[in-house]
């Protein structure tokens, strides 16, 4: 097998409680690299596209990449993919931490689950030993309790755990999967897929290192990249303040959504929700993922006030916005408390904050009343009702039952004009960056294969001035211009598709990692040279196979849209402009080699060997 890979995929049929090991196909490796690329190929080939996502016939794929578990900086991530119950289309989500490397150390590149266990079950991988074990005693427990209990009963404190919480067990479509006590694969409701299979957790312990093709070159390169990253001011900022260190700058340019995307300015709120404020108040220490010099994760502890006692993983930027600005809450303590609740219940904080903001607006406009909320007064900025809402979403009680299925389904159930307040694309709640502030985000959200996502392209980084010279992105473009944005979004989508396949944390790309480093790492790890063209062509292939997955489900131009609210600027002038989606979309389809309906043309598929 090529370096970096273990060459083995574990297949688990939960209906029959049968496990088997199969070789990682060389065709997959050559054409799709790993991570999200191989997961997409597996699901495209094996899954009946029209399967109910919460039925036993859906499949759930956990994948690592060739760099996962090596000492290359920022390679602790793994990817989970499935047909999403939240969107009904391609679903993927990633998490960092230590679980992905541990899976490699146990001897596997990935795991494919299908079927449904008769009773709650967990998978225990201890190097060569594979066991499906009874999880009845864990069912109903939160993610932190589950992890602690598993480590204790397995007598393996160094095992790594991914688990769902009560929300995933109860099939909330915004349920997430939690790794390492707080690393979250949040998006697309994949926690509900685990729950639908009666799969509570996967515990892994491995001791076998990941071999690379050229160890001397690899080690020299790791030293070179680590030194650059260690000296980068961006590394120091992320370590000191986490991703929420960007909050105030983002607010200043109108990037932060406020009050369910209806306001574009709240500097005082942003300051109180910033990573800088967190560092002065509740931060205990920065926490690192496997072999990463950045340490952007937060460990927090609240020592006084109404939320005293809350401790553990702290909120990132997305959560500070979705539980803060989006709800007009400016208290980092209640945001940290809510983040802890969501980690324990196993709920995606972006979708959860969006669902609660949606409910607040429905309540404000009289579409729902106290009768619907069972007496909870939903008022913007109120802490008590906010925390109650998370509880009922996690427990699937009252109006929490419909909110836990995301804003699209909730708006359909509430009816009237509720869809106007449901801010999503293809059913996935929008992340906390405003496409009215960065035009490329509008196109990226509309065309992202998993629904609204800022990380599938991260093209707004270029509009903020992060350059990628080897991709031809050498200068900061005008963030309000439409011209040239289609090409930029395509390049970044294809680039990020490879990043999610190798798999490397995207934050490293702003801390000194370059494409040249990546190409040298691929050669030293896997053992073959890749040119920039081959690298980008691989990304294009991966992006397109996901589009094909979605095309089979009827996705076309009609779905590549933005919410009506986002299609209009909040004010003339300084912070927001209209996204001009139609204009950019025409150019995008043409450059992608797709037809007018957004389907890859036959000649494009031939060119990509799909």
């Amino acid at each position: 097998m090529l370096g970096g890979y273990k060459g083995r995929i574990l297949r688990v049929n939960l209906t029959d409680l049968r496990v088997s090991v199969e070789p990682l196909k060389e065709e997959y490796v050559k054409k799709f690299l790993g991570g999200t690329g191989i997961a997409a190929k597996i699901l495209y080939d094996e899954l009946d596209p029209h399967v109910d996502p919460l039925s036993p016939w859906n499949k759930l794929v956990f994948m690592t990449g060739p760099l996962t578990g090596t000492l290359a900086p920022g390679c602790g991530r793994f990817v989970i993919a499935s047909k999403s119950p939240l969107t009904g289309i391609w679903g993927e989500s990633g998490s960092a931490g230590y679980w992905g490397p541990e899976l490699k150390f146990a001897g596997y590149d990935g795991i494919i689950f299908d079927g449904k266990a008769e009773n709650p079950t967990y998978l225990w991988l201890n190097n060569e030993n594979v066991e499906l074990k009874d999880a009845k005693h864990l069912w109903g427990k939160d993610t932190i309790e589950t992890e602690n209990k598993l480590k204790s009963e397995l007598k393996e404190p160094r095992s790594r755990i991914v688990t769902i919480g009560p929300a995933g067990e109860r099939l909330a479509k915004i349920a997430c999967i939690v790794a390492d006590g707080g690393g979250v694969a949040g998006r697309c409701g994949l926690g509900a897929v685990m729950g639908s299979k009666n799969l509570k957790a996967i515990a892994v312990r491995g001791t076998e290192r990941v071999e690379v093709a050229d160890e001397t070159t690899f080690n020299d390169l790791v030293k070179e990249i680590s030194s650059i990253m260690e000296n980068s001011p961006r590394t120091k900022s992320l370590r000191s303040y986490g991703s929420a260190g960007s909050m105030e700058g983002n607010e200043a340019v109108g990037d932060v959504p406020i009050k369910n995307w209806t306001i574009n300015s709240w500097p005082d709120g942003a300051k109180k929700l910033s990573g800088q404020h967190m560092a002065k108040t509740i931060l205990k220490r920065p926490v690192t993922c496997f072999a990463c010099p950045i340490a952007c994760k937060r460990e927090i502890e609240i020592k006084s006030g109404p939320y005293a006692g809350v401790k553990g993983k702290g909120p990132e930027y997305e959560t500070c916005a979705s539980f803060g600005t989006l709800l007009l809450i400016d208290d980092i303590g209640v945001v940290a408390k809510a983040n802890d609740l969501c980690t324990r219940y196993g709920i995606d904080t972006i979708s959860c904050g969006s669902a609660i903001a949606f409910a607040y607006e429905c309540y404000e406009k009289g579409l729902i009343t106290n009768e619907d909320t069972e007496g909870i007064n939903l008022s913007w900025g109120d802490h008590e009702s906010f925390l109650k809402m998370i509880d009922i979403i996690g427990k699937r009680e009252g109006i929490g039952l419909i909110l836990g299925d995301g804003v699209k389904l909730a708006s359909e159930k509430i009816g009237k004009d509720a869809n106007k307040f449901a801010i999503h694309v293809k059913g996935l709640e929008m992340p906390m960056h405003d496409p009215r502030a960065y035009k490329s985000l509008a196109l990226g959200y509309a065309t992202s294969n998993r629904g609204a996502c800022h990380l599938q392209a991260a093209s707004h980084w270029v509009e903020r001035g992060t350059t990628f010279p080897e991709l031809g992105l050498k200068e900061k473009p005008d963030r309000f211009a439409s011209e040239g944005k289609a090409k930029m979004v395509i390049d970044m989508q294809d680039f990020m598709a490879v990043i999610d396949s190798l798999i490397i944390c995207k934050f490293t790309l702003t801390c000194g990692y370059t494409l040249s480093h990546l190409l040298r790492l691929v050669e030293a790890t896997i053992g073959y040279k890749m040119t920039v063209d081959e690298f980008m062509r691989t990304g294009e292939r991966i992006f397109n196979i996901k589009r094909l997955f979605n095309n089979r489900l009827g996705i076309s131009r009609k779905d590549d849209t933005l919410p009506e609210r986002i299609d209009k600027p909040l004010s003339v002038g300084t912070k927001h402009r209209r996204p001009d989606l139609g204009l950019m979309l025409d150019e995008y389809y043409q450059l992608r080699g797709w037809d007018e309906e957004g389907k890859p043309k036959p000649e494009k598929l031939t060119e990509l060997e799909l």
């Binding site: 980068s232 001011p233 909050m247 700058g249 200043a252 990573g275 002038g573």
Partner: protein, 94 residues
């Protein structure tokens, strides 16, 4: 001479421990001159404002004159008396 109000956000503010600075500049000064001749006097801001590779002013800094963000070159953007210039460094946001 013109008087300019500087507002530093996020880690720029934390670096020097001040959110607001008042500075005097020659008439018709550019943003580039403002940074080079005034802000870089603060040793703690150098890492945040200068690209370690090119030794030039970083491209990934958010700069606003009053409420308007600077999208064109920092050489061509001029400030006038009484303007507020806001600066924040960009950090990858989750």
């Amino acid at each position: 001479m013109i008087r300019i109000h500087i507002r530093l956000l996020g880690d720029l503010r934390e670096a020097i421990g001040k959110e607001k600075i008042e500075i005097n500049l020659p008439n018709n000064s550019s943003i580039k001159e403002l940074i080079e001749n005034k802000l870089l006097r603060y040793e703690e801001l150098k890492d945040h404002l200068i690209d370690p590779t090119t030794k030039r002013i970083r491209t990934d800094i958010i700069i606003l004159i009053n409420e308007r963000s600077i999208e064109s070159s920092i050489e061509s953007e001029r400030v006038k008396d009484g303007d507020t210039v806001t600066l924040a460094s960009v950090v990858a946001g989750g």
